[in-house]
Symmetry: C3
Subunit: 209 residues, 3 copies
């Protein structure tokens, strides 16, 4: 078996695995809100964890690597199972869901932009792919649970992913060292999304939902 994703740097792989895990937790906590059984946890956890990257790879015509090397899939399964067995109380559950989602959003906008640049996409497409990777899994999670996608909640969400993705592309263009670019872009995205959650920042008029 060839090593997939061999072209990816160790730091991007680490951020990707981190994103897989936290998004899988957010999916599992969504399953918990709807009182699903363990298979519901596994299903929504894994599809949330790998959904954004899968969508990016399908669009780019890149191999969907988890169909060759199950590492990402197994990480998502493990995270969803652990969430099932060590389930927090109802209140912590909701809070865990939105913060796990925020961490995954910040991780995946960096990963998605980086992978698309590596794949040879034009910068504007790479920035868009960061957005797709960061938001795709959460949209699939919310559609499966038949709730309003979090991306349409009125708070900065896509905006945070776009900020992270754009920061990463600009910093790489300026030839900033890769790890610095990753940390700064992650911090920018998580900072904006986290502030929005803490202070209930809204960008539009009060929404209907």
């Amino acid at each position: 078996m060839t090593t997939p994703d061999a072209s990816l740097s160790a730091s991007i792989l680490a951020i990707m695995y981190f994103g897989d895990i936290v998004f899988s937790i957010s999916g599992a906590l969504t399953a918990a809100r709807y009182r699903m059984d363990v298979f519901g946890f596994l299903l929504i956890g894994t599809t949330t964890g790998i959904g954004g990257g899968t969508l990016r790879d399908l669009l780019l015509g890149r191999t969907v690597w988890w169909t060759q090397d199950p590492t990402e899939l197994l990480l998502c399964v493990a995270a969803a199972l652990l969430t099932f067995f060590f389930l927090p109380s109802d209140i912590a559950r909701r809070r865990g869901l939105i913060w796990a989602d925020a961490l995954g959003l910040a991780a995946f906008c960096v990963v998605g932009c980086s992978i698309a640049l590596e794949f040879g996409s034009p910068p504007i497409i790479a920035v868009f792919m960061g957005l797709v990777t960061a938001t795709g899994g959460g949209v699939i999670r919310d559609v499966l649970a038949n709730t309003q996608p979090m991306i349409t909640s009125g708070q900065p969400y896509a905006a945070a992913a776009l900020l992270g993705s754009l920061s990463y592309a600009v910093l790489r263009y300026l030839a900033i060292p890769e790890i610095a670019a990753e940390v700064i872009a992650f911090a920018a995205a998580f900072g904006l999304r986290g502030s929005a959650l803490l202070f209930d920042i809204r960008m539009g008029p009060p929404g209907e939902f």
Copy 2:
């Protein structure tokens, strides 16, 4: 025109066509519940019938064969049309929907796992692809109708697909003859899903929906 799916055995092809038909019927009966017109029947019937296999092929990077050879598409169209013209009463409709779905689930977990193994996927991925093939069409059907996906209903559903897919992979690994593996795995999946429907087995706490 080359014969697509030439690598598939006659028995897998037969189970695949059977799954296409029963899933298309389940989609058409969903259209009936929402009182759609004949095109709604066709749309939801065909996307339910071919949705799971399409998702599997996109993920694997395999050719989506119905875009080359319309056999599967035409079977789904015929099944949806027949459902439209010979529509049962309201009560039989609901019952027909869940049982057609159960038959399709059992058929497609075997087909999906078999095709992925044939395609060269590692066993763990092949089992997962059985799950994706079996549940994908039903999820698309329920999302199109804007109802809660049946997979999140609290009854064994993904569990039944996983049982069938896993049984098939294990039996093939044990070098059991192919047809025996298919029959046993189908029976395992349908047995679990059918029991859940007959006795209203639930795996988790009472759900919110």
Copy 3:
């Protein structure tokens, strides 16, 4: 950078860009109905504009061209932004949404069928791809907004896309000049969909939604 879609005629490219723009407007007006912020407009606008063609290309195994050449993406972004800044009143908004959708439907059934024929698909698949291209973006839009997909509303919708797609394929088969085929097929689809909107034509029994 090679010119993507170089195989497409100027008239099909023009209809495609027109469809991108009007579908993006319909997506942006959906975002407006749910009082989203500017990023919600951009997200739903662009995914509606490029969604149908993306789905077609993934199914056919064709390159998703907007990941190579951002022209379509930028058109969608511009249309969504203009809609945000020059937003009509509430009543005109609903009307704008359904008529922009109808124009996009008529444009994309022609484009989808033409591209699939060009790609070498059998005629029956090409007609189906016209249907997929015309309806895919709108379904994604309505799923993202968690509303009932317009395609299941009980009015002729898929029927109009099918009429346009089928007309185009038949006219091309009859060796009618390409531009004439495009105009006639567009007019047939838009005529049926527009009449349905003007006179509230329904094809089935009164629906539940």
